[in-house]
Amino acid sequence: MISAPCLEVAVLVLGTVILLIESFFSKFDRRYLGYAALVGLALIFLATFFIAPQSTMSSAPFWNFYSADATSLFFKRIALATTAGVIVMMFDFAPLVSSGVQGATPQSGLGEFFALPLFTCAGLMWMASAIDFVLIFVSLELVTISFYVLVGFTRRNPASLEAAVKYLVLSAVATGFLVYGITWIFGATGETNLQKIATVLSGTGLEQNAALFGGVLVIIALGFKIAAVPFHIWVADVYQGAPTPVTAYLSVGSKAAGFIVLLRVLDPFLILPQMQTLLVAIAVLTLIYGNLAALPQTNVKRLLAYSSIAHAGYLLVAVVSFSGRAVAFYLVAYLLMTLLSFAVLILVSQPAGDQLESFAGLSQRSPFLAFAMLVAMASLAGVPFTAGFLGKFLVFDAAIATHHFGLVVVAIVTVGAGFYYYFKVVRAIYWDAPPASTDKIIVSPLTRVALIALIAGTFVLGVYPQPIFDALAR
């Protein structure tokens, strides 16, 4: 049996070792560092199944801000799986990392590129366990700072730099909101531990408005992380400018961690009716804006950015309906289909760019990639027998069970809109004639295995969700 905090430590050690090897040895194939990271992540993922239950552990003060319950373990696994998927994508993206840099060898910078996601991963895993505002803040900063570097990693590319600056400035603002909110809550309740805050809030004789104000500020900060409207302004430009694997990471990892924190923070606050109203409003705005803005997009990366806002909307519907199960399952489904679509995008866009036209006639250039993208788009749109559909099913179920019929009506319309823009990609793949250069696209064995695993996961979870429910209920 392993103690839960060892997991984060192991990830950090793995990242540090890779950085050290990168710094002290020069003449070797940098891709081995990537393989090492993958193997290490896989081992740590396995280790999550042998974690000692929390009750048997000592009641040291440490456990006042760190939780090792089933939910946090579940989200740690999501973080690990996402990171592994992102590193696989980085192999395909590697040729672009040093492009445009004067005097660079083909592999310069690659070592850090493989190491940085590991630090992000450690931050995400801490966020999954954080039950105290101090740890929430610290782990969030670890995630954000490593993302600053990753977003601007291709620093000779102006779009990437622009994205990095935008992300830096707006994240800093969000962090400001978070700290300010935490101080208000601390001032009103005298606690930073979420459980103790809940106890204080449910008591009487409390300055409730001050705590509520703090709660709203925290939600604003988290709204930045999960890309909820109206805190979404950064999303489209940052997603489009960042290196594609990083975009995938932002879109899955950052969002998953944001939602687990949101669930935990809201737990004490949701008893206040004003908070409910606020969240419903945010969910409606996010659903409508994300889906409508995605409709006219012709750049696939940007389309996926808006679709990521849209999916934040469905997740918020589940949050408002108090359904942790729906949130968790939806995030897993979202992980599978988003990683799948970004992985295909990297391969397809390498010669031609991210435009929708690069997908034209993909079914003839690479039937396998065409099918993978079809599965991803079908799942994102919510076609049955895919994980995306079961996720939507659970979200609708939760919303109807809690009588949020207004949200249901909005969601019906936005799902319909979603079919249009996801099927635009399908149309390009299968209907449109390929451009003049119809070279076959070569898929490396590693990527092929990853894609097959993602496709299989999408289908299996689409009809057999029980493993996820079991993992959550442990």
Binding site: L374, A378, A381, G382, V383, P384, F385, F389, K392, F393, F396, D397, I400, A401, V408, I412, V413, V415, G416, F419, Y420, F423, V426, R427, Y430, W431, V463, Y464, P465, Q466, F469
Partner: protein, 488 residues
């Protein structure tokens, strides 16, 4: 076991074709196999007991989710329809210029999805199997369609996706309305009287709109004629013949037995809408100037009669509705199949540009005539037997000797639809096959002799049921008797 085979044969065949097996041969073998197995199920079916040939695999006890297949008289009839039309559709598929394997795979997926939906005993899979057909329909119309195919493909996809989501919400509302102790997605666990009357009205309305979009109930019908006019003939046969029946099947399977009070409350609105389907769409059909659009509208119009049977909410009317679903599937498939062949041979399907085709295509003319007579409801065809039952069932509803009520008036109005459909069908028949041919220099050959098989299949089954409707009635009666004994 047999049901698993009949459901998954088309789907597995579709996957095998995509992997690389010879497309036409595999599709033919799979469809014939499907038909054989469903015929065996049909013959071995015991009319007296409830769901049969049941297979169950548990999936998620906390959701009440399992994978369960089973048939009663109603689903049995629909599965048989799906298998027959699938064989016919594969038979009439001619040379496909590009991506032949994908074409057949899409056809098989549509049929497999429809059959799976009819066989499912679980709401989740009932819904999911139907949606399986969505992407194949989009691709079939978009890639291999004719005319304004891209716009039509978008329209049908968005419409059906939206209808499906509304339906999904309705199904979840239904699931949530059942008290916790009995809550399940399994159809066998759901009984009349579980859902409080006060909740039924809203759920029925959502289901009616969701299913209504899928069935092309007025005013949600505008996708249908355009899609069927643009779709390749086999796709139109399967979609209009089989897949569209899913919505009606759902109303008969769920809405009538589980939500009787809701059905009663909305029956007035439903009567108005279905009369619009019959009379208004009937007149629109007469006004059509192209054969394919005319057929598309006629299939929308005939949905009105099936709705009338469902609205009547008695054994006679619903049995008639079920048989009419079957009969209409056969006749519309035949008509779309022949029209697809005519489309390949003439430059335009405009009535003004055609004429005299019977001289060059006697077999096609004969088959189209049979299909048209069946669609009109000529005695001897299954459509006639079914329409008679529907009309009597509807008329009988709330009948007293003092004065006519809304159902009697509605039935009288609906009867005029028979005249309307005779007008447009016979006119189309005359203008397509008789009269003087507009372009005599065109060399037109008759349809392949291989076409005799699907034509004979569709017509013989229709005639068989027309002369011996009790074959179906015997199997359907226990199902509907259960519905109405529990609610009255």
């Amino acid at each position: 076991m047999l049901l698993l085979l009949v459901t998954f044969t088309p789907i597995v065949a579709a996957i095998l074709i995509m992997i690389g097996l010879p497309a036409r041969l595999t599709a033919m073998a799979a469809s014939v196999l499907t038909l054989l197995i469903s015929a065996i199920i049909f013959l071995r079916f015991n009319a007296t007991s409830g769901f049969q040939f049941v297979v169950t695999f548990p999936i998620s006890p906390e959701l009440g989710l399992n994978f369960a297949l089973g048939v009663d008289g109603l689903s049995l009839l629909m599965i048989l329809l799906g298998a027959i039309v699938l064989v016919a559709a594969v038979c009439v598929t001619g040379e496909i210029e590009h991506h032949e394997n994908a074409f057949y795979a899409c056809l098989l997926l549509i049929a497999g999805g429809a059959i799976g939906a009819f066989a499912s005993l679980n709401l989740f899979f009932f819904y999911a199997f139907h949606e399986l057909a969505l992407i194949p329909t989009f691709l079939l119309i978009g890639i291999w369609g004719t005319g304004n195919r891209r716009a039509a493909a978008w329209k049908v996809t968005i419409y059906l996706a939206l209808g499906s989501v509304i339906l999904l919400v309705g199904l979840i509302m239904l699931y949530r309305a059942v008290p916790v102790s009995a809550r399940s997605l399994d159809l066998r666990m759901l009984h009349a009287g579980q859902i409080p009357a006060s909740l039924q009205s809203n759920i029925y309305l959502v289901l009616l709109i969701g299913f209504g979009i899928l069935i092309s109930l007025v005013p949600f019908h505008t996708w249908a004629p355009e899609a069927y006019a643009s779709a390749p003939a086999p796709a139109a046969m399967l979609h209009a013949g089989v897949l569209k029946k899913f919505g009606l099947y759902g109303l008969l399977r769920l809405a009538l037995p589980l939500l009787p009070d809701g059905a009663r409350q909305w029956s007035g609105i439903l009567l108005v809408l279905l009369l619009a389907n019959i009379i208004y769409i009937g007149l629109v059909t007469i006004a059509q100037r192209r054969l394919d659009w005319m057929l598309g509208y006629s299939s929308v119009m005939h949905m009105g009669y099936i709705f009338l049977g469902i609205a009547s909410a008695n054994i006679l009317g619903t049995t008639g509705a079920a048989i009419l679903m079957f009969a209409h599937g056969l006749s519309i498939a035949l008509l779309f199949g022949i029209t697809g062949e005519i489309r390949k041979r003439v430059p335009s399907l405009d009535f003004d540009a055609m004429g005299g085709l019977a001289k060059a295509m006697p077999l096609a003319a004969f088959a189209f005539g049979l299909g048209a007579f069946a669609a009109i409801g000529l005695p001897g065809f299954a459509n006639f037997a079914a329409e008679i039952m529907v009309v009597f069932g509807a008329f009988q509803n709330g009948f007293d000797y003092q004065h006519f009520h809304v159902f009697q008036w509605a039935t009288l109005l609906a009867l005029w639809g028979v005249v309307i459909s005779a007008v447009y069908m016979l006119r189309a028949y005359r203008r397509t096959f008789f009269g003087s041919s507009a372009k005599s220099e065109l060399v037109i050959t008759d349809i392949r002799s291989g076409f005799r098989v699907p034509i004979a299949l569709l017509v013989s089954v229709s005639l068989l049921l027309g002369f011996f409707p009790q074959i179906a009635v015997n199997r359907l009666m226990p199902t509907f008797r259960n519905y109405f004994s529990a609610t009255q």
